[in-house]
């Protein structure tokens, strides 16, 4: 398939494509809103049509044709194989051990994949109050693997988290707009793949700790036309009220 030139896609699109390529057909994914939802739905629209999407709103096997804005949009319930309560989705399904891949994002990540989505600054008087834990700690603990998706900037890739919301123990890959990091010795994240046109030095410069880079980082492929077309077809609905 023809590949697309760098200028023809955004960093977010590259992230979604890189994450989607890591999903195999039949995998069960616990998906949040935004980039993770894009990646998982892109996988479904391309090479992994039987990828199973589970949203924390209790929709199991949702098959949205457009990206939902919230994790509880009506289309998720309408297209799901089953809709269960929130206590059940966290108890029987996530903690129950049925999910292969959990997707997470955060405001900060450290070299061990630990995540902060709680505060910037001190907890008692934060500079920025972030949304908080949500399902993240138990997603990271309950899924077989955790994929993190996060734009690569030194204020996000930090030496020390302001708050540890989610332990990084289960993180098996971090997809950024520059490349992919994977845990190496003692769980420290190492840059193992670079997106097209990105150098290891750029990634180092965007990381707040002394980033380890694998000997010969893989060179990622740009999105091909099919991937880009499928991704753009998932465009979220516009802001108007949709009568159902």
């Amino acid at each position: 398939m023809t590949q697309v030139e760098a200028a023809a896609y955004t960093g977010d699109e590259m992230m979604a494509v890189a994450a989607a390529r890591r999903l195999r057909n039949g995998m069960v994914c616990f998906v949040g809103i935004g980039l993770p939802s894009q990646a998982a739905n892109l996988a479904r629209a391309t090479h992994a049509p039987n990828c199973v999407l589970v949203y924390e709103s209790g929709t199991i096997g949702a098959k949205p044709t457009h990206l939902p804005l919230s994790i509880g949009d009506g289309e998720l319930a309408e297209t799901a194989d089953a809709v269960v309560s929130v206590p059940e989705i966290f108890g029987y399904w996530l903690q129950g051990g049925w999910i292969d891949i959990g997707f997470l994002s955060a405001a900060q990540i450290d070299r061990h994949g630990n995540l902060n989505s709680t505060v910037i600054g001190s907890y008692e008087s934060p500079r920025v109050r972030l949304p908080g834990a949500g399902g993240a700690p138990e997603i990271a603990a309950g899924c077989r693997e955790t994929f993190v998706m996060l734009r690569h900037e030194s204020r996000a890739f930090v030496e020390k988290l302001d708050f540890l919301t989610t332990p990084g123990k289960g993180v098996t890959c971090v997809v950024t707009d520059l490349g992919v990091l994977e845990p190496a010795d003692r769980g420290e994240l190492m840059l193992t793949e670079l997106h097209p046109g990105v150098t290891a030095d750029e990634a180092r410069g965007a990381t707040g700790w002394d980033l380890r880079v694998s000997d010969d980082p893989r060179q990622g492929k740009p999105p091909n036309r099919d991937e880009l077309a499928a991704l753009r077809a998932l465009k979220p609905p516009n802001g108007d009220t949709v009568a159902r």
């Binding site: 939902p68 809709v83 903690q95």
Partner: protein, 272 residues
């Protein structure tokens, strides 16, 4: 047996200053009509309980109704921050807000424990992070395996408020679509108010439906479009545009107050 009354009467009679109230609905069926009535009646010092505060709690907090927030994820879904929530936490405006925060799994287990009238719920969580030290959680040891788990205190609000699609004339309630923790919050609460899209003569069985018998509900009130800008499956869709516009409306204290005065206190309908 649930009485069928107006939203104003239900709130007037059942919600007191200082109560712990839970307005639930996981993205779907969020009880905005009831929340706006709390604002219009000027309730104060509420402990607001809700997994995902959403815009309705941003409004209650910004209007000075809340003393404390118990929650697990406080953002504007798919959009960004809840600016009134942030302003209260970061700058104490309009007054300081105490936080008790959980993970979704913890809070869901706490509601389920409340519904089962158990004093605590158990989850495998709150481990290896900074959250445990900042919230109400305890370690508990399995008497059979020795494993250490997390115990979360049950949530038993004074008043649970949810929105549903339908009630019948006896006050039985039916909701369908994403059920969230609505059943749990009604069963866990000491008193409950259910607003509905409409009263029908007969509730029909449906896939994914939750039935709440009249004898579990304190008051039922009719509030058509009472979940807007959230949605009511089968009635109207989520107003994603409003969620996006709220970001701007709520950023500025004055603009927020003016908007609330006009559209909530004076009930001017939103432009369609």
């Amino acid at each position: 047996m649930a009485e069928i009354v107006s939203v104003a009467e239900a709130v007037e009679e059942l919600v007191r200053d200082g109560d712990a109230v839970a307005l639930e609905g996981f993205t779907h069926l969020i009880p905005y009509a009831a929340g706006h009535e709390l604002i219009r009646q000027g309730r104060r010092d509420l402990t607001l309980v809700r997994m995902t505060p959403d815009i309705v709690y941003d409004q209650l907090i910004g209007m000075g109704c809340a003393r404390k927030l118990v929650f697990s994820w406080g953002g504007n879904p798919g959009v960004g921050s809840l600016h009134r929530l942030r302003d209260a936490v970061e700058h104490g405006w309009p007054e300081p807000l105490k936080l008790e925060e959980h993970s979704h799994a913890g809070m869901a287990a706490a509601y389920a424990a409340g519904a089962a009238k158990l004093p605590f719920g158990v989850v495998r969580g709150y481990e290896g992070n900074d959250l445990a030290a900042r919230t109400r959680v305890a370690r508990i040891r399995c008497p059979f395996t020795g494993e250490q788990l997390a115990a979360v205190p049950a949530i038993r609000p004074e008043v649970g408020l949810v929105h549903a699609q339908q009630a019948d004339r006896e006050g039985n309630v039916l909701l369908w679509g994403i059920p969230g923790v609505q059943k749990e919050v009604v069963l866990a609460s000491r008193r409950s108010i259910v607003t509905v899209e409409e009263v029908v003569s007969r509730l029909e069985p449906r896939p994914n439906a939750v039935f709440l018998p009249s004898w579990t509900v304190t008051a039922v009130a009719v509030a058509p479009r009472g979940a807007h800008p959230s949605y009511a499956h089968g009635y109207y869709g989520r107003d994603n545009g409003f969620y996006e516009r709220w970001d701007e409306i709520s950023r500025d204290r004055e603009r927020f107050r003016n908007w609330m005065a006009r559209h909530v206190l004076e009930r001017e309908p939103l432009p369609v």
